[in-house]
Amino acid sequence: MAIQVTEKFVSQIVDLRSAITNLTKDTSEFVSELRQIASDRLSTLSFPTTKDEEWKYTDVSSLKKLTFTAQSAISEDIEALIAKHSAPEASDNLIVFVNGQYSEQFSNITGAAPELVIGTLATLGDRILPKLRSHLAQHPDTNDYFASLNTACMEDVAIAIVPKNLVVEKPIQFLFVATPQLSAATLLTQPRCLVIAEAHSNLTFIQTFVGNDDQPYFSNTVTEVWLAEGAQVNHTEVQWQSDRAVHINTTAIAQARNSVYKNQSISLGAKISRQNSVVHQMAEQTETSLTGLAFIDGEQMADTHSVIAHNYPHGSSKQLHKCIADGRSHAIFNGKIQVSKLAQQTDSAQLSRNLLLSGKARVDTKPQLEIFADNVKCAHGATVSQLEAEEIFYLQSRAIDAESAVNLLTYAFATEAIAQIPILSVRRSLSDFVLEKTKA
């Protein structure tokens, strides 16, 4: 049977999960159910290979050779890592997970707005159970292989629920830190987030994924974001894993009528990273904006697969995805725009811009439009280029040397995406990173 091979990978990981002891009875039963459904589904799915169209360029077979552990000691540099990556703007709304476990020590939600429901599955308990039943692991795009693996091992979940009409002034941050230690087994963490923005609420949240580079590790994340009618959510994802990590992240969004979802997804780290972003417009007049940046070097590989599904009339979407590939790195973008027959008057624009900084770097980009409605506007474009001689000359003619000109233009290329992030400190630290990378 073809699934024999995958079973070993799955069973090893599923065996690592602990019994649910931290949850109240009803929640515990619900999570057990979710685990079971996902495990059952996994037995029908195969480990993705490069023969699958969706995984054509990204070979994650190395994962199958590893032995995993779900535990790791917390290393000494943890405080420095957290200090570096926690946004001061979100200091009152900070949830930290270390090596897959909620860290009460480093989290701080004491100053959060009282109406805001923020915490974890364990801390929030049964009072949110009805909401969990309708939202947790309920998004149709959390059913693929790696998302199912996450659900099958679900223990704790970082949660934010914004009640109706509440405008959350300060951003929320979910920070996931890995501190892998020298061990025969590779650290596996499976972060999970659930964000529910109820009708006409407004939320800005940041997800940050970091780790130290002492040892390899594997991070497999799932985030579901639900926007009710008229809700507005800004979601910033910063993937700053160590260059030894494998990072797989599924972001599944569901948007109700008149809602506005904006996302900035920045991928800087990981040896292999895979970002799956799926947005479903579930009612009329929804607005979606996705901005992506992958800036990679060395042997890194960054793969972004996105789907924006326009299912109802008058939806709009804007997508800008940028890749900067240096060294021998490989960036991949596959951006699907679906416009169903119902989705008349859809207005969608997608642009993929890619910059190759070395002759050995590689970019594969594929806009993919599936349009079944006849009265829609769908613009798309893709460019892969090196910096243009004309641009460099313009700067040279303004007294700037060629090398600085290249650096400035690279910086500018990256900054266009970073500038979309509404949180100043995040924008700054990313700009500093880019500036450092583009220094002569």
Partner: protein
């Protein structure tokens, strides 16, 4: 202005140059002295823009013969950025947009490179802010332009004013204006030309490249050169522009044919 016994800024002799294997400049001669304003006119494709790019050091253009001396030194030995720091400025016909870089960062980087070259200390944000305010007035530019990305979303007129602002900052010895009047309405043209005139001194010089006489109503040249087929075929004073405006360039080709 024509100044007695002034220094020779630019001396071009028998210059030939090609781009993409096609010879464009075919033996061009020109001398510009400090204080002078020269205009080069000529039909499209005569080589005017190529000449401006060769002077600024565009890598796509190859000089195949002749010489260019700038303040007595061989210009062709210098990288484009060194030429800029030594005082050669090219105002682009089509200024490039640089999304993601603010105008003020760009201008400060540019200016600090010049200062470093001159052995001066670099300007910090505060010094530069004072410095730039008075330069903005030269081109009647709103300070809000400084916080916008370089040329991004600028109108044609705004882009050209931004070019003259860069010129004001770099304070060149030889300013080359490549079709700076193209795409400008009359108000923008007046501002741009006014900026160039304000920056003109007895120690520097300008080379104005234009297809039309219109710009020369505002920037009055001391000499007008007519370029045709890669070389200068006629030189005169400012009245030549009016004659060209009236008769067109074909008249010259006929003259040339008769002379040959």
């Amino acid at each position: 202005m024509i100044v007695e016994n002034s220094e020779v800024i630019l001396s071009v002799k028998n210059l030939t140059a090609e781009v993409g294997g096609v010879e464009i400049l075919k033996g061009l001669d020109l001398e510009i002295k400090a204080g002078e304003v020269h205009a080069i006119m000529g039909p499209n494709g005569s080589g005017k823009s190529t000449f401006s790019k060769v002077l600024a050091g565009h890598p796509a253009y190859t000089v195949t013969g002749g010489e260019i001396l700038y303040k007595g030194k061989n210009l062709l030995d210098l990288e484009p950025e060194i030429r800029a720091r030594e005082g050669i400025f090219l105002a682009f016909q089509y200024p490039l947009e640089i999304p993601g870089v603010t105008n003020s960062d760009f201008l400060r980087l540019s200016y600090n490179n010049l200062r470093k070259h001159k052995g001066l200390e670099e300007f910090d944000l505060i010094d530069f802010d004072d410095f730039i305010q008075e330069k903005l007035e030269i081109v009647e530019m709103n300070p809000s332009f400084l916080s916008r990305s370089v040329n991004e979303g600028f109108s044609g007129g705004e882009k050209k004013r931004n070019e003259i602002l860069q010129m004001a900052i770099l304070d060149p010895t030889l300013a080359i204006l490549d079709e700076t009047d193209s795409g400008l309405d009359i108000d923008a043209l007046r501002i741009v030309a006014g900026g160039v005139n304000k920056l003109s001194t007895p120690d520097n010089s300008s080379l104005v490249i234009t297809h039309y006489q219109r710009l020369l109503n505002y920037i009055i040249p001391d000499f007008i050169h007519v370029m045709e087929n890669g070389k200068i075929i006629l030189t005169g004073d400012k009245n030549l522009a009016l004659e060209l405006e009236e008769k067109g360039y074909d008249w010259l080709k006929e003259e040339e044919a008769i002379a040959a």
